[in-house]
Amino acid sequence: MELVSFEWWSMIVRWLHIFSGIMWIGHLYYFNFTQTPMMPKIPAEQRPAVTGFIAPTALFWFRWGAAATIVFGLILAWMSGFLGQAVALGIGSHDKRFAAIGIGMWLGFIMFLNVWVIIWPNQKKILGLVTATPEERTRSARIAGLASRVNVMLSIPMLYGMVANHFYA
């Protein structure tokens, strides 16, 4: 494998895809398994440290990690020569690899939309980055929490699609 070969660049893009994927899903699991369950147990006077400093920074790396994962994933699929077949879920290809990676890709894309279209706009209201009434904040907390929890659930079959693709080869 030459240093500047197409295969080398493909490997680099796969590396970046996995790096940004860990950045994204790592923060997703942090929010769901650690921060959210602990918030009610944190003394009220200490909560601003989380909502004012930790959460906005974590959300920054979370949402941009999601964007980078999708971008590098699409480039990787294109470089691997199966972007079209994967988007079509491998229908008509009689190849389980395309069905597996295609389902994983679509689940990842739904999760990405959850982040940018549902979670982030609602989090901005919760954290006070945009003005919202207390009722709106309560409603936003439930919507963002549910969308985030759905993403934890979807991450399980999404990761199966990503790794099983190699098993079906």
Binding site: L89, H94, R142, V150, V152
Partner: protein
């Protein structure tokens, strides 16, 4: 309606239901892969 996913129930916490639901979806995914591209 969605409290089992957000908060869990009195018996088990949300992680049990969320992970179980994810595993059920994975089984459906495996069946779909075979249905779509089975030999």
């Amino acid at each position: 309606m969605w409290d089992w996913l957000l908060k869990g129930t009195g018996k088990y916490g949300w992680p049990a239901y969320t992970i179980l639901a994810g595993l059920v979806l994975t089984v459906i995914e495996i069946l779909l892969i075979h249905a779509i591209a089975g030999s």
